[in-house]
Amino acid sequence: MIKIQGLHKSFGSHEILKGIDLEVNKSEVVVVIGPSGSGKSTLLRCVNYLEVPTAGKIFIDGEQIEPSTNINRIRAEVGMVFQHFNLFPHMTVLQNIMLAPLKVRRQDPKEAETQARELLARVGLSEKADAFPDELSGGQQQRVAIARALAMRPKIMLFDEPTSALDPEMVNEVLDVMRDLAESGMTMMCVTHEMGFARQVADRVLFVDEGQILEQGTPEQMFSNPQSERAKDFLSKIL
């Protein structure tokens, strides 16, 4: 579903990604872990070209991303959830969810609204349809953000530290939604520090450090028997 070949990304002279090769299969849930500054967020953001790679190729569902031609069409197939939610504060929850289906997919407004309400029900926020984002708690906002991404019926969902900005008591309501999503067969790539979630839900865990995938394996392998010194060191600090 996602294929990455020889991905490099530099900001000025600073090289963040130093050659990433990765394939993610359909319905696979991949969790990316690693110390901060290791490049894991940049890797995720390269997948939908929010960051333009310095070198390398990225294929989504077999189609290579070419920024000049198909970038918006491919982005529509790849949902993304941000650390800081990034809901549109001037729109109601419902308008947030309906915007892209209306403008990008040119969906019928009635149909888009029905779908938006279904998604809100799915993330447990039916009664908040007409609220504005700043009237919601952080956890509720992030669930709306997930619903907003799902409204485009993406083939892939990217999560960039979706629970890092949340108060601890709100983390689980978001993880629950993500767990449901994984169980429904969504292809997912998540950058997260929630090791419990990784252990439960991930098919594969990647350990990224200094711009490279240092190690990967099933959660079982990674958490109980990491091979590299750096992974051992990192895991010992957060587990």
Binding site: N48, L50, N72, R73, R75, A76, E77, V78, G79, M80, F82, H84, N86, L87, F88, P89, H90, M91, T92, Q95, L99, A100, K103, V104, F132, A145, R148, A149, M152
Partner: protein
Amino acid sequence: MFDLELIFNSLPLLGLGALVTMEITAVAVAFGVCIGLFIGIAELSSYAWLRLPAKVYVDFIRGTPLLVQIFIIYFALPALIGMRIEPFVAAVTACSINSGAYVAEIFRSGIQSIDRGQREAGRSLGLTWGQTMIFIIIPQAFRRIIPQLGNEFIAMLKDSSLVSVIGFEELTRKGQLIIASTYGSLEIWTAVAILYLIMTLSISRLVAYLEKKFNTKKVS
């Protein structure tokens, strides 16, 4: 000493001048907002061929007095194009071009003040750059810059008095013309000042109301 009757007799004429002042200000700011929106966005463009001319325009207009800009358009430009420009056209053109530069800076800072995450969220949903601007960035920026736009409106209203130098009969020029036959400087300039004050105070009230309306109820 203070001739109240003169003020009373002049009020209809001054009121007419005040209306003309409002008209030219409204038209200039309306054009200014259109110009300013495009120039402000151009200033943020990653394309140098868009960014540099926008920057030159803004720097030139903000770096030269409006009075000189009015003289250039009314007195100098006709010599170049061989056609006289009507005072109204010259006045509106000068004020719009001037306002455009200031509004451009207001829009530029407004757009820059919107969190980068908003743009990324829009783009990640598959919205184009233009859709992201129109549906996400500009509406938020616009709410944020209402006070500055109000200030620009007030500044323009006051600066529009400068077009009296080309004989355009707005409030200041009307005052000047009345004084030319009555010599009532004290009375007429006092009345003119009060009329300006009434207009600027009304605008700041209106802006305060709009700001409240947009920012508490969030009507989209």
